[in-house]
Amino acid sequence: MKRGKSKTRTGRGAQPAKARGRGIRARARRALRWWQARGTETCSACAHSYHYEMEYRCVDCDRGVCALCAVREREAVYCPECA
């Protein structure tokens, strides 16, 4: 069983660009992850696409919204219209 360690990152620490391989070549080597790419669902608020697993549903109108449009209030998630 392969073992590796992962860094714990909380809070607002800054990290030097080089450590993350922000250079063009480093970035190109990293494949686009599924959650970075365009998905199959369409946000009812901003019309952008996202993946189903990242969907939020408004508790008031049940429409699907993307993570960027979802309004989190009082333990529930709303679309921008219903918020």
Binding site: G4, S6, T8, R9, T10, G11, R20, R22, R27, R30, A31, L32, R33, W34, W35, Q36, A37, R38, T40, E41, T42, A47, H48, S49, H51, Y52, E53
Partner: protein
């Protein structure tokens, strides 16, 4: 929650050619032989030159857009006892047609960009990380490797641990569907499983993790092809009590009789043909086509090589080739 709800059955437009095994075929009586399966008759009628270029929309007299663009999907292994069946997963649902593209004034398709809301600085797609909000404004970053480590076996294996009558599955639980295509030399084991399930009208219940989410699935055989229908977990389906629905009242027989009459007036043995048409999309297309004929507001676009659409494949093409045993193109098997 009703568990023994009689689920709807499809009619067998395709007769299974697998030899019926010795096990007695359950006489369910609910299986309709012909015509009952209401489904995408139009969608399958399309033949002709297969679109080899991804994104190519075939001209479609019926108005249903056949252009399916999906990312290479997930791969895993269906385990059944000690038998392993390596499979590829493909979506069996096409995304609901968005219909409209976002354009600039000049008519060029717009691209989405991320940026930091405080500084306004652009953030490249590939640098974005995923995190969970532990307190307001405080996040814990989680990498894909860490998330996989939460349950490493399930992210590769689809373990079949129970079989139930297809009839017993309640449609309230169903969510999305995926086709399973056999990989490597899994053909025989795949076929074996499909045959057994189809002969006995059974669905296999399994679990697996894909895209940082665990799925409960019912695997069903349809003409020799396995399809996995994801289901909601019990705690994801609300009960009438949770919602606060009033306690049921026994209705008056006269009222029930009146309702039965109302039902009888609208009764039909078959689903109306155009019941499942996307009318909005059809109207949109009509208006757009009319404008195009008048030469109004028509814009030619060169599809920009969009980063986000990396590795897009044509679904039907990939499915066909998978089933035929050839390797699908664009295979950089991205762990979805």
């Amino acid at each position: 929650m009703a568990t023994a709800r009689k689920a709807s059955k499809k009619g067998g437009a395709r007769k299974s050619t697998a030899p019926k095994s010795g096990a007695a075929r359950k006489a369910t009586g609910a299986r309709k032989a012909t015509g009952a399966r209401k489904g995408p008759k139009r969608v399958t009628r399309r033949s002709g030159a297969a679109a080899t270029r991804p994104r190519a929309a075939r001209p479609d007299p019926d108005g249903a857009n056949d252009d399916v663009r999906v990312r290479p999907f997930w791969s895993g292994t269906v385990t059944f006892g000690l038998v392993s069946i390596p499979v590829d997963l493909y979506p069996a649902n096409r995304p609901r047609q968005a219909g409209l593209r976002m354009l600039s004034e000049e008519g060029t398709p717009l691209r989405r960009e991320y940026h930091n809301p405080d500084t306004g600085e652009r953030i490249d797609n590939r640098d974005v990380v995923r995190g969970f909000e532990i307190e307001k404004g405080e996040f814990v970053v989680l990498t894909d490797e860490e998330l996989e480590s939460a349950e490493p076996e399930r992210t590769r294996d689809i373990s079949l641990d129970a079989f139930v009558d297809v009839d017993e599955l309640d449609p309230m639980y169903f969510d999305r569907a995926y086709f399973l295509a056999p990989r490597e030399n899994a053909g025989k084991a795949y076929r074996l499983l499909a045959d057994v399930m189809e002969n006995n009208d059974l669905a296999g219940i399994a679990r697996f993790v894909m895209r940082s989410k665990e799925y409960l699935v019912a695997i069903m055989a349809d003409g020799g092809i396995l399809r996995a229908e994801t289901m909601r977990f019990a705690d994801e389906v609300r009960t009438p009590e949770e919602i606060g629905l009033p306690k049921p009242k026994k209705p008056r027989p006269a009222d029930v009789a009146a309702m039965k009459k109302a039902i009888a007036r609208l009764a039909s043995e078959e689903l109306p043909e155009d019941a499942l048409q996307d009318e909005y999309l059809a109207e949109l297309r009509r208006i757009a086509e009319a404008k195009r004929r008048r030469g109004e507001d028509v814009v030619e676009v060169e599809e920009p090589g969009d980063e986000e659409d990396v590795g897009v494949i044509d679904l039907m093409d990939a499915l066909r080739r998978s089933m035929e045993g050839a390797r699908a193109s664009g295979r950089g098997r991205k762990r979805a």
